[in-house]
């Protein structure tokens, strides 16, 4: 249960909202690099943190992200001509460079200096891994670039996708740190999905549907440990890192790639669910790439030409009641990503958390909300930089491991939870 005012504090991310200001402390994923594949390619509409923006890649390969609308008459620059070092509004020919600076107003004398006085709000856009990242906060506070391992390994070791989700970012993110739903909602997929099946850990997941939880704070967020019974009195631990405000990693299974997510607000009622798979020490195989590109694992199939999932609310997520009855899909919905999105969207755009009945096993969610609230108010009231801005906080990994009952994961797995180049991951 969360009080109404706290729910609003955590879910509103527009420019004037406290959480919006906190999101603007971080580099966040803005687009897939594939969306701007070449110089002078068509511009792309982007909405982030309730701001409508246009992204483009100029003739020199420089990326730009700026106000979507021309300063002249408010025309969308999505119709613009991306040519000769800038994006030109097709209405009257005003042209902008990647910094948002107007560089040409054809109706005005070239030496009048008029266009120098026109500048659209713009944000930096940089490519790291498969992602174009932006920072939408005060220029003087721009933090060092992100160092999440999935984005910094060689390109043949990583795959990233995104999908449109029609819910507030927080209820989507909370699914990412809620380990207990895996044994139910995703149970049908553990033994069939090519990116999950075959791992020894799956059997522990399926056999023990009542995990014990341990939630431990780290500098950038939380580790949520879910403990299930293994053989010989030992425990199978799945450790999910959460890095503030919206990065989560799924504990690995066998030698499968590790996956995880970013949950980025589009506005207060929609978000981008970013999903990645990477392997820290080897290239992804052809079979894995085929599965990833085919929407398996935490990814999904799309409506062609979009990042909207093929199974979505307009077709009731293609729910299959017979498959539900037979246990192939616990909820009747196919695919891990859509199993999550269908339920999270069913809660409504912004779930009313005053009506919840949380239980003790929801402690990961409870603690994450507390940390978010504390960080938001500390930034708002005292200007304190929130956890997760420091790239050192990004260098984390999820872990799955079998431990004797007297060993604590936070202590024994301290090194396993740190990302390092070429270091094998700890997985069962």
């Amino acid at each position: 249960m969360l009080r109404k005012e706290v729910n609003e504090l955590l879910t509103q991310t527009g420019p004037d909202a406290a959480m919006g200001k906190m999101f603007r402390q971080y580099w966040i994923p803005a687009l897939l690099a594939e969306e701007l594949p070449e110089d002078d390619c068509p511009p792309v509409r982007v909405k982030l943190l309730s701001e409508r923006l246009i992204a483009f890649r100029d003739s020199d390969g420089k990326y730009g992200l700026m106000d979507e609308f021309c300063a002249h008459r408010g025309v969308s620059l999505w119709f613009g001509r991306n040519e000769e070092g800038g994006l030109r509004c097709p209405y009257h020919g005003w042209k902008y460079d990647t910094t948002g600076q107007c560089i040409e107003v054809p109706s005005e004398p070239a030496d009048s200096g008029f266009c120098e006085k026109i500048k659209l709000q713009a944000y930096p856009l940089i490519k790291i891994g498969d992602i174009l990242w932006t920072y939408m906060g005060p220029k003087d506070d721009e933090p060092p670039h992100p160092e999440f391992e999935f984005a910094t390994v060689p390109s043949n070791q990583t795959f990233t996708s995104k999908r449109f989700q029609e819910s507030n970012w927080l209820q989507a993110m909370e699914g990412g740190i809620d380990s207990s739903h895996v044994s139910f909602l995703h149970s049908g997929s553990l033994n069939t999905d090519p990116l999950f099946k075959g791992a020894r850990g799956n059997q522990y997941n399926i056999a023990d549907k009542m995990p014990f939880f341990e939630v431990v704070k780290h500098d950038g967020g939380l580790y949520v440990g879910a403990r299930r019974n293994a053989e010989d009195g030992k425990y199978y631990w799945r450790i999910t890192p959460w890095v503030m405000p919206c990065f989560t990693m799924v504990p690995p299974r066998g030698d499968h790639p590790i996956h995880g997510h970013f949950w980025i607000p589009i506005d207060d009622e929609n978000c981008w669910a970013w999903s990645f798979d990477y392997h820290p020490t080897r290239a992804l195989s052809d079979v894995e790439m085929e599965a990833l590109e085919g929407g398996k694992g935490v990814h999904c199939e799309y409506v062609p030409g979009t990042y909207i999932p093929k199974a979505n609310k307009t077709n009731d997520y293609l729910v299959d009641r017979q498959a539900q009855k037979e246990g192939r899909y616990y909820s009747g919905v196919e695919g891990i990503a859509i199993q999550d999105s269908s339920l999270q969207e069913s809660m409504g755009p912004i779930v009313d958390r005053t009506k919840e009945n949380l239980v003790s096993t929801d402690n990961g969610v409870i603690m994450a909300r507390q940390m978010l609230k504390k960080a938001v108010t500390a930034l708002r009231d005292k200007g304190v930089t929130p956890p997760g801005v420091d790239p050192a906080h990004h260098r984390t990994r999820s872990v799955s491991v079998v431990l004797p009952p007297d060993q604590a994961f936070a202590e024994v797995c301290e090194e396993d939870l740190k990302a390092a180049t070429g270091k094998p991951h700890t997985s069962v």
């Binding site: 307009t314 409504g348 949380l358 003790s360």
Partner: protein, 172 residues
């Protein structure tokens, strides 16, 4: 078939969610495992709760006469309420749905085993909160080791406010 979900998931439709209460009150027993918790739990008890009861385990040495008066067996404990009233763990558990054990980092928290066994035997939910105000990993681990086997959910929290908010979140 036309999707029913499109309309059902709008913000407008969310307003039609029934506002009648969707749960009955649960009885939470918030239990300080060491006498040093008494003052904090006493403060928390003064806040508004949904029926949560706050008790502290009375140390064995101090419980001699009390234990005798209350007929407390070896698998039971003497508890003390903020107003000083004594009771038996077994009696408290009879009207409890969830037991939230509380300890500070570095405390022995030996009572966790008695509480845990008693709660498991009655098939009650158990949770643990360890307050970590000092940066002493070894001390923290000692307390976690004592509590871990006897709780379904274990949280290491940074301050008393986090504990209070955790209790609020579960409608204690």
């Amino acid at each position: 078939m036309i999707s029913q979900t499109v309309k059902a998931t709008t913000a407008a439709e969310s307003h039609y969610r029934i506002s009648a209460p969707n749960s009955k009150g649960r009885s939470s027993l918030v239990l300080g495992l060491e006498a040093s918790s008494a003052s904090l739990l006493g403060e928390l008890a003064g806040l508004e709760w949904n029926g949560a009861r706050f008790r502290t385990v009375v140390p064995t040495d101090d419980a001699g006469k009390s234990a005798k008066d209350l007929n407390v067996n070896a698998d039971d404990l003497v508890l003390q309420a903020p107003d000083g009233e004594l009771s038996r763990l077994s009696d408290e558990l009879a009207s409890t749905d969830v037991v939230v054990m509380f300890a500070r980092s570095g405390e022995a928290a030996q009572a966790a085993s008695v509480v845990g066994e008693a709660a498991f035997g009655r098939r009650l939910m158990t949770a643990g909160f360890v307050l970590d105000e000092q940066d002493d990993r070894k001390a923290l681990e000692a307390t976690l080791t004592a509590v871990r086997p006897f709780v379904i959910s274990l949280v290491v929290g940074p301050d008393a406010e986090a504990f209070s908010e955790t209790l609020s979140a579960i409608r204690a």
